[in-house]
């Protein structure tokens, strides 16, 4: 096995990257101040970001399997936590959560709570035991705990089914952002995203993914926290947007009261259309996210990279802290946008509307007088036919989509163009981090976890590395194709990843640790039944008529609330109906539970 690199190397990397990022932002800020055009700023920010990530990926290249699959199990808990947060935030969460708060808080509150609870369930119920088992991934863990090839095959299929649409969605979103920043075609942007993801995964595996994910977390956290902090301080004298956004809501309400009407219509995020209102939806969202996030393969995989069970617990806690930093400001974005649109845009002459309205109008995300806000002339033509038109923006004629809130926020907040470019880079970093982690989780499930469990004689680590890399190439090409060809389907199906993890993986995982009587038959039943029910309901939601029922009022996420009990019921019933686990299997469970001692899966030798 390769010598473990010192954990502080990750800290050094994070510090160096943060300093370089701050210098880049400062230099571009100065150039912006001296009049550098916004499109050149965007190209510079995006180009620098992609090149930096690719460079980190190449620098982290390795031919050692322990480094490729496990980063030599030497990642410090904080670094692993940052990488964990980056791998689950994703572009849709980065952009969509604030947009959902923008249209109404109840569903978004449930999503926030569910996401946070997922990390607690991970820390308490799964991560330390997963790490102790020594398993490489979810499929490997289930194979070690239960034994038998059918469990590995079923789990691999669930992992691929769950993560593929979300991977494609990450590619699609990344391509849209890159295309807008660099001014290249969507196809070219997709190829660039694919190449960057390939370079940052296939060469260095988890080692490269971890290092780039830490860098991506720094970018996305800075990009989302700094603008909200500036506005909170400027408007309310406090640098804590989490505690001042209520005041902005209050002020927006007063403005609406004073003028007798709302200035704008706010619609929810398209990517988060799965969030519904009502108590059942809220509870189902919390339950599915809390269990599904804990069972996400790309997240559990991170637990394998830390030094021991204690590190896995601390990694999950750090992950929760880091994800809170990002999603904690989402409601502030929504509230500040509400207030500042009402205060600064109301009754403005159409000729003096700010640039962000037309930028996002071209994407169909901002409408005025019923048409996309693409130009002043088009708006004058559309609004002149409305009753009482004065040449100014009339009440209720502005409609802003929740998908525009985060990316348009710097414009709404009156911040410089460089901040707009950096926020877009943050969204790109979030999409890339999630896409890489999920693509690798799928490839590792096939190339390592399934392959190693399908032969009586363990295959060589070299063969596993080759197969994993080939699978990775295939996953990236297919995800780029699907994301480019069917971006709407990919983004709509992406939230189903959490539901599939909850319904298809969580029962077998949690019972594997906490119920010794759980058998391979029970686990297989849980994975197949829970995964099938959840997948069918997700597809029924997206393709009405897939099942012979009407609208079941279950979204792509809350579909997991049906898969969870089915999975648990199948696990318990089939476990009790089959022979109890033998002494050897019981011994494996004991060893997985006990923090000290030798893990069951040893790291492979170097190639």
């Amino acid at each position: 096995m390769a010598r473990r690199p010192p954990a502080r190397s990750y800290g050094k990397l994070a510090l160096l990257f943060a300093i370089a990022f701050a210098i880049l932002a400062g230099v571009l800020g100065l150039l912006d101040y001296f009049g550098l055009p916004a499109d050149i700023l965007g190209s510079a920010v995006c180009g620098a970001g992609l090149v930096a990530l690719a460079a980190i990926g190449v620098y982290a290249a390795t031919m050692q399997s322990s480094e490729f699959y496990l980063a030599a199990r030497a990642v410090p808990a904080a670094g692993s936590g940052a990488a964990s947060a980056a791998s689950v935030i994703s572009g849709t969460l980065f952009i969509g959560l604030a947009g959902t708060y923008f249209a109404g808080a109840d569903g978004a509150v449930a999503a926030t709570v569910g996401w946070c609870f997922g990390f607690v369930v991970l820390a308490v119920g799964l991560a330390p035991y997963f790490r102790k088992s020594g398993a490489f991934g979810v499929v490997d863990f289930l194979g070690v705990r239960y034994g038998g090839r059918p469990v590995r095959i079923a789990a691999t299929l669930v992992v691929a089914t769950a993560l593929f649409p979300a991977t494609a969605a990450a590619f699609a979103l990344g391509a849209v952002i890159t295309s807008n920043l660099l001014g290249v075609s969507a196809a070219a942007a997709l190829v660039m995203i694919g190449v960057v993801v390939l370079v940052t995964t296939a060469l260095g595996g988890v080692r490269a993914i971890t290092r780039t994910a830490i860098a991506e977390y720094i970018v996305m956290a800075s990009a989302i926290v700094v603008p909200a902090t500036i506005v909170a301080f400027h408007e309310y004298g406090s640098p804590l947007p989490q505690l001042t956004f209520g005041l902005a809501l209050h002020d927006a309400g007063l403005l609406a009261l004073a003028s007798g009407r709302d200035i704008a219509t706010f619609t929810g995020s398209g990517a988060w259309s799965w969030l519904g209102g009502g108590a059942f939806n809220a509870m189902a969202t919390v339950a599915v996210l809390a269990t599904g996030v804990a069972a996400l393969p790309q997240l559990l995989m991170r637990s394998a990279t830390v030094r021991g069970p204690e590190g896995a617990r601390r990694s999950a806690s750090w992950g929760l802290l880091f994800i809170l930093v990002v999603i904690g400001v989402a409601p502030a974005y929504a509230a500040f946008a509400h207030y500042l649109i009402a205060r600064d845009i109301a009754d403005l002459p159409l000729e003096r509307l700010p640039d962000w309205i037309f930028t996002f109008g071209h994407l169909g995300l901002v409408k005025i007088c019923g048409i996309a806000a693409t130009s002043v002339n088009a708006l004058l033509g559309a609004c002149s036919s409305t009753a009482g038109f004065t040449g100014n923006l009339a009440a209720n004629e502005l409609a802003v989509s929740g998908d525009a809130v985060v990316l348009a926020a710097p414009g709404i907040f009156g911040l410089p163009d460089v901040v707009t470019a950096l926020v877009a880079l943050g969204a790109l970093a979030a999409a890339l981090a999630a896409g890489k982690a999920m693509a690798f989780a799928i490839a590792s499930a096939f190339g390592h976890d399934l392959y190693s469990g399908m032969t009586d004689v363990p295959p060589s680590s070299g063969r596993q590395l080759i197969l994993t890399r080939l699978t990775l190439v295939a996953v990236i090409v297919l995800a780029a194709w699907f994301g480019g060809r069917h971006p709407g389907d990919a983004i709509a199906l992406a939230p189903g990843a959490v539901a599939m993890a909850a319904g298809g993986l969580f029962p077998a995982l949690i019972l594997g640790v906490w119920w010794k009587r759980a058998t391979a038959m029970g686990a297989l039943g849980a994975i197949v039944a829970g995964g099938s029910v959840t997948a069918a309901l997700v597809l029924h939601r997206h393709y009405p008529g897939f099942l012979p029922f009407g609208d079941l009022r279950l979204s792509e996420v809350t579909a997991g609330i049906a898969g969870l009990p089915v999975g648990f019921a199948a696990a318990v019933a089939l476990s009790l109906a089959s022979e109890p686990p033998n002494a050897e299997r019981m011994g494996i469970v004991d060893a997985i539970r006990r923090p000290g001692g030798t893990p069951f899966v040893q790291e492979s030798e170097s190639l």
Binding site: A110, C116, F119, V120, G125, L243, R313, S317, G328, D590
Partner: protein, 84 residues
């Protein structure tokens, strides 16, 4: 389990994990309960349920995770099963 100490360790670990699980359920229910009882009562400009859901519950989850991490380490050491 190999001996009495490990059995006691696992029992304590299980009880502690269960307590965290119950705490999470209570925290999850709080926003809904508080919203229905306090209606449109505003704190820092936010409805009570929104405040709990966006600020208090996530922080409570963080405290629960940190407390678990520290406390579990103590339990592991007390029963001599820690990963040293």
């Amino acid at each position: 389990m190999r001996d009495f100490s490990e059995i006691a360790w696992w029992r304590e670990t299980r009880q502690f994990a269960l307590a965290i699980g119950v705490a999470l359920i209570v925290i999850a229910l709080l926003p809904a309960l508080l919203s229905s009882h306090f209606g449109d009562h505003l704190v820092l400009g936010m409805r009570f349920g929104t405040l709990v859901g966006t600020v208090v519950a996530p922080l409570a989850a963080l405290v629960a995770a940190l407390a678990f991490t520290v406390r579990q380490r103590v339990i592991d050491r007390r029963h001599d099963v820690a990963d040293e």
